[in-house]
């Protein structure tokens, strides 16, 4: 489940946001000013922060500063109808800007677009640790038994592969994810290899129904494990590639 912090003191806007978020899988925390936001930022991490720039400018800037100080990579969404404040918000790293949300249609459209963005970001950036057996078949019909060590919607990492596979090779595999009973068929291109039979591969083809299954599983798993148990680095590993090159 996504976690968002809403820093806003306008009652009607809060009510609209609540209704729009209630239909989505989001856990929301509300703060009315920078002081309250600071407490929440120190205690929790958030996927997104909605900041009402109609708070006093100082408060909105304080929240921006707090977000940076806390090392939060949360997506910033500004709520304002002022052009100057909008520019200020974008210069502070905001990715979205909405006017104060006063009706449900407006709130659903705005919050819906943020939600889709956040889910996509989570799917792309999150790899889940695995320890699942898989059978690898290379493009030259070499087969080997291996272990899938992690997976994202973009790629996966395999260890214990008994045959040597070259960088750039196409491989196909199928893996049954924990808690699932249907195998996910994947075709992928090897991006890096390292001694010990490890390689990282970028997914090039996955059937549409299996992709949906994988995305749903990753979002669910990421939420249940928390951010400390997932890996957020990119699938392409320059360090590993350098090892292979040397």
């Amino acid at each position: 489940m996504l976690s968002v912090l809403i820093v806003c003191e306008q009652l009607q806007v809060l009510e609209s946001l609540e209704r729009a978020l209630s239909t989505l899988r989001v856990m929301a925390t509300v703060a009315c000013d920078a002081a309250a936001a600071k407490i929440h930022l120190q205690r929790n991490s958030f996927d997104a922060i909605f900041i009402d720039y109609m708070l006093t400018d100082r408060d909105a800037c304080d929240v921006d500063a707090l977000r940076l100080l806390s090392g939060s990579e949360a997506t910033l969404i500004a709520i304002t109808n002022s052009g100057a404040q909008q520019r200020s918000a974008f210069s502070h790293g905001a990715l979205f800007s909405f006017p104060p949300l006063r009706n449900m249609d407006q709130a659903n459209r705005c919050v819906g677009s943020v939600y889709r963005f956040l889910v996509q970001k989570l799917r792309r950036s999150t790899r889940i640790r695995l320890d699942q057996p898989c059978r690898i078949t290379s493009d030259v019909h070499i087969h080997c038994e291996a272990t899938m060590l992690d997976i994202s919607t973009c790629g996966f990492r395999v260890g214990g592969c008994s045959v040597e596979l070259r960088q750039g090779a196409t491989v196909s595999t199928a893996v049954v994810l924990p808690g699932q009973n249907i195998a996910i068929d994947l075709t992928a291109r090897i991006i890096w290899t390292s001694p010990g039979g490890q390689f990282g591969a970028q997914i090039t083809h996955i059937p549409a129904d299996r992709r949906r299954m994988l995305e749903a599983w990753i979002v669910e798993r990421a939420a249940s494990l928390g951010t400390t148990s997932v890996i957020t680095q990119e699938i392409h590993s320059p360090a590993a590639s350098e090892r292979t090159a040397s």
Binding site: E9, Q10, L11, Q12, V30, A31, C32, A36
Partner: protein, 118 residues
Amino acid sequence: MRILLIEDSKFLGQAIRDTLTRLGHAVTLVGDGMLAHAAFETDAFDLLIMDWVLPKFSGADLLARLQGRQVPILIISGLAEPESVMPSDCHFLRKQGLTIAELVRTVDSLAPAAPISL
């Protein structure tokens, strides 16, 4: 002040309660008119802050049940013309454009006011 806050919106309830609590008030938050009535039966309050549109009892139903209680009442309403439907001896604020800071100022202004007889 001991404040009973009746608000069915979780966001608004949390926001108002946290702010008033931080300012030193003792806030009891309930989500509907029935729970508010029950809270009044067991505890004493210096101020009642309520949404006019509530689940279970409406604002009007709740006020009818609280008749005779000596407590100032602040109604927050999303209605376009709340004056036409609300008791004249209650204070009210329109939700449109209302900020927590303005609500706090109104609460402060009600602190020394004489209680209203319902």
